[in-house]
Symmetry: C2
Subunit: 219 residues, 2 copies
Amino acid sequence: MWLNYIVNTYSFMTEHEMNTEQKILDAAKDVFQQKGLTGARMQEIADKAGINKALLHYYYRTKDKLFEKVFEIAFSLFIPRVKEMMGSDRPIMEKIAFFVDNYLELLNKHPYIPGFIISELNRNPQILVNIIEKNIQIKQNRLIELLDDQIQKEVKAGIIKPISAKNLMTNVISLCIFPVVARPILQGIIFDNNKKEYDIFLKERKEFVKDYLINSIKA
Amino acid sequence: MWLNYIVNTYSFMTEHEMNTEQKILDAAKDVFQQKGLTGARMQEIADKAGINKALLHYYYRTKDKLFEKVFEIAFSLFIPRVKEMMGSDRPIMEKIAFFVDNYLELLNKHPYIPGFIISELNRNPQILVNIIEKNIQIKQNRLIELLDDQIQKEVKAGIIKPISAKNLMTNVISLCIFPVVARPILQGIIFDNNKKEYDIFLKERKEFVKDYLINSIKA
DNA sequence: GTCTATACACTGATAGAC
DNA sequence: GTCTATCAGTGTATAGAC
């Protein structure tokens, strides 16, 4: 099961409605992630959910609304974690280790979501504005400033090398996500399209990235 | 003008044909990159090229064929460069500096191409197989092995820290490309959607990434 | 090579019965 | 809440004149 998001959110619904709605969301998630908003077909979603098109429109009036829901859930699964993990009060190096461990595990569980988010956001950046408006908790307000304060203190204390929070965050996220979203290219070009080897590569890379990031900033 | 690819490739064509075909490719590139294969409309491409739909089908019989051409050109612009730049016989650190300088410049000139490639490749990885079959020179055959030989020599000579060519390449490419393809997210979350600030960030990051990568492997 | 007009299939969405 | 049947709109592709 993808998420019990609906169960938590609409707790007033009957068991039956939850199941149908959840089935739709699961099916829609698969199809939208593979085909994108414009490539997805309502018929395919209906088939995969074991219902018909009319019922799809009964629950979510339009394709766009269904898409928005799916996108929002996917986004909520990946983005707020950044804040949770980087917002604690541990030392920077511990934060990085914790983040890499948890984020790579999340990526391993949902490898297609980041590519889905990036693709659709590049086609229509406006989606993000709507989501952030609806979900205040997604706003990373002042996370960067607070993180930067901590970093500069550790720099002064001689624990880590000088670096800005923005550059550090960008590095950490890039090294975690890019090998997953650009898998078709890297696997094709560097690994001669050997799926198995790339899986091993990604698995071994987990410890490597952690060590690499930490050593790169260690004073 | 996007590319004089056609001019170079089909030199037997008349001036008139070149212009129309080039106009189509330029228009198709814009529309496909923004909307994707399934989101693009032949009508929009025709309008942007200043012709009509029928003429579009006269030059490229189907939408798919036109798309493949556009994708192939975009891919050829970004991928073979990796081989060119990493395949020279300079020391590793010089290679990295050279690569980052040139690739970030290329990215600055064509910021939407990597996202386009990644998006479409995730939807249909088969495209890559077709392209590589048609363009032997794109194959990075043995590049990684040769690069790894060089790296291990420099490691033994005490010039750089131990690292595999695959991990190093992945790091370099990730840090260059990800901040561009994930711009909507990073700009939205870290930069409060301030476009100007993100442009400055990317500009300043050029020197930062170069230094960061080199310092991270320096023995 | 370039145009207008049109064929033909598909898709999102709705109406209405149960 | 779920179904069948259907409509209206849109999109790719082609026919045929110039």
